[in-house]
């Protein structure tokens, strides 16, 4: 009775995950071990060739470049997001909600439109360059668009809300008495942050960072639009393999590697958070 009810209740959810997540991923994994057909299809001949190709220095550099861009994006998001989340967490409850909505507001508009907006801002004739020239700070426009700077700016802009939300949930859980106790025991505000606030919000930092990193490394729209297509990131590579080169097995292999890396990161983060929670559960 209980068992059958559980199946009824969890069934739709499990079916959803199986149909839209597990099965596609499994297909992807399976495809990555076959050969590419001459006209773009899949020849069902087992091979490791796709994976051997993926670790070729050419592609390894793309991997590395993507990780670098995603890593820088993550660090900048953390540097921008922590003070923001900290301030919101210290606000009275009513104002917190208003500010959190402000943080999330951009997410309600279309990602492409938001990315195009950055082209308008960053290009040679754009708002930023013209303002700087107008103020007499520079003579010629700065090369702000179609480079790593533009990609990182676009990604940071897009994903900093996720960082703020993750950090906010962690910082707001921290009892204010802990900071007061630290002050009472003679710690300066900086020392309190370093010894109490920062270590106790590490789970939030980890969650936010993994979030931003994973979203950034797989992104192909922003590098395409703001990077001007010159700088290929791993997301673009996969996109090209499926839609331009029509090499599904190779695209699948790269995608499988990226998914593997992401899952590893998420697992490490989850394990770390679990372990800390068990150790430090405030009874």
């Amino acid at each position: 009775m209980i068992v059958s009810r559980r199946i009824v209740l969890t069934g739709p959810g499990i079916a959803w995950i199986m149909l839209l997540l597990v099965i596609p991923c499994a297909l992807l994994l399976v495809n990555s071990f076959f050969e590419r057909g001459i006209y773009g299809g899949i020849d069902y001949i087992f091979t490791f060739e796709n994976y051997v190709r993926a670790v070729d220095p050419l592609y390894a550099e793309i991997f590395w470049n993507s990780a670098r861009v995603a890593g820088i994006t993550t660090l900048i998001s953390l540097a921008l997001g922590y003070p923001a989340a900290y301030c919101i967490a210290l606000m009275p409850k009513r104002r917190q909600m208003a500010f959190l909505i402000l943080v999330m507001l951009p997410l309600w508009s279309n990602y492409l439109i938001r990315t195009y907006a950055w082209i308008v801002l960053l290009n040679g004739e754009g708002l930023i360059n013209r303002s700087l020239i107008g103020l007499g700070l520079i003579d010629a426009p700065l090369p702000l668009l179609y480079n790593d700077f533009a990609i990182i700016t676009g990604l940071t802009y897009a994903y900093v809300p996720f960082m703020i939300l993750a950090l906010f949930s962690s910082i707001s859980k921290l009892a204010p008495e802990l900071r007061e106790a630290s002050t009472d025991l003679g710690a300066s505000p900086l020392m309190t942050f370093r010894r109490v606030t920062l270590p106790l919000t590490l789970p939030g930092i980890a969650a936010g960072s993994v979030f931003v990193f994973v979203l950034s490394i797989g992104n192909f729209v922003t590098p395409d639009l703001l990077g001007g297509g010159k700088r290929t990131m791993i997301g673009n590579l996969i996109y090209d393999q499926f839609l331009t080169a029509r090499d599904w097995p190779f695209g699948s292999a790269i995608a499988a590697i990226v998914i593997g890396v992401m899952m590893a990161l998420l697992t490490i983060q989850a394990v770390l958070v679990n372990r800390r929670d068990r150790e430090e559960k405030i009874a």
Binding site: A175, E177, L178, E180, A181, S182, T183, D184, L185, G186, A187, S188, M191, R195, V196, P199, L200, R276, E279, E280, K281, I282, A283
Partner: protein, 353 residues
């Protein structure tokens, strides 16, 4: 005893509400002082101002004669034991206690020596390597105490220190806190809403009401000579018999004339209440001259004492009497029993406000 802490005319409002209202008091160098009062009386706000977490709107706070009103919390030689204990969950017991000394720049062997000594003082040496989550409530309380004591503050503030403990442990810790205060020679300022706790531990008590001191004095003085009905009612239990001061004494309608310890303080014609503690009412089961006849309306057996709810003949409000279990009448008294009770004028007070 020279004053260690002086609070001079301190006020603090939150919006429209005055939490602390022009309050002054002083605490001696080796004193166990209790701030007692119902919730919302301003005792915690006062404590937080002394600790440095709130700034008074008006008034000054002096420590050893030096004005510390503008000094930040982390620079004051005062430590606070938080009601929630506020132990750092990511640190061991040892690291929690060592934290305050590290902030003073202490390192290595000297640090370890001081921490070990204070852990021994609160009998926690065996648990030094544990994290707070692995401790019981009583153990956490000791860590919080050790963490504050290790700094050797001039004044230790304790915010409802025993509030989270169960009754048995609380009684044990009351004696323990008293011992620690005497052994360390540090002045303790305890905030509590529990009058029994304050009576047991404190050398002096300030009973607060609506941001002001209702009465300040030694426990015995507050219990024996309350200056108002509020104090009399808050500290222990009190019977009030409404009446009026007349030429011959204090007249209680239906019961007659009474004398009281402070009868002469009350002006003629003033209304007030005759206040008698339940345990000061003598109860007998045989009629005696001058005693008031009463009927038992209800009783509660407490082991060492028997609580009697009495209806005095001619009086409409019930009176509570507390009879020691050794009294022979406790053997056969029951609902509806007829008893005779009385009290000596020295054991009663007239309270006009």
């Amino acid at each position: 005893m020279s004053a260690l802490l002086e609070v001079v005319g301190v006020s603090k409002s939150f919006g429209e509400i005055a939490a602390v209202d022009n309050l002054s008091l002083s605490v001696g160098g080796n004193e166990f002082f209790a701030l007692l009062g119902p919730s919302g009386c301003g005792k915690t706000t006062l404590l937080r101002m002394i600790a440095g977490f709130e700034r008074p709107d008006q008034g000054r706070i002096l420590l050893d004669g030096i004005d510390i009103t503008g000094i930040k919390a982390n620079k004051r030689p005062i430590n606070l034991m938080f009601q929630s204990y506020a132990l750092f969950p990511h640190m061991t017991v040892f690291a929690n206690v060592a934290y305050g000394l590290e902030m003073e720049g202490l390192r290595g062997a000297e640090l370890a020596k001081r921490v070990d000594a204070v852990l021994e003082l609160v009998q926690l040496s065996a648990l030094a390597k544990r994290k707070p989550a692995q401790l019981s409530g009583g153990q956490k309380q000791r860590v919080a105490l050790a963490r504050a004591l290790v700094k050797r503050p001039k004044l230790l503030l304790l915010d409802e220190p025993l509030g989270a403990l169960d009754k048995k442990l609380r009684e044990q810790m009351q004696i323990e806190l008293k011992r620690l205060q005497q052994e360390t020679g540090i002045a303790f300022l305890v905030v509590t809403h529990d009058q029994e706790e304050a009576l047991t531990m404190a050398d002096r008590i300030a009973l607060l009401r609506a941001g002001r001191i209702a009465q300040l004095g030694e426990p015995r003085a507050l219990y024996e000579r309350p200056n108002s009905r509020f104090v009399a009612d808050f500290i222990g239990q009190m019977n009030f018999l409404e009446g009026m001061r007349v030429a011959e004494g204090f007249a209680v309608p239906g019961l007659g004339l009474f004398n009281a310890a402070n009868l002469d303080d009350l002006p003629l014609g003033a209304a007030g209440a005759l206040a008698v503690r339940p345990e000061r009412i003598a109860v007998q089961d045989t009629e005696v001259a001058g005693a008031i006849a009463a009927e038992v309306e209800g009783l509660a057996y407490l082991g060492q004492d028997l609580i009697l709810h009495l209806r005095l003949d001619g009086h409409d409000r019930p009176v509570v009497a507390r009879v020691h279990a050794a009294n022979p009448i406790t053997m056969h008294v029951a609902r509806g029993s007829r008893l005779w009770c009385g009290w000596s004028p020295a054991n009663s007070l007239i309270l006009s406000e």
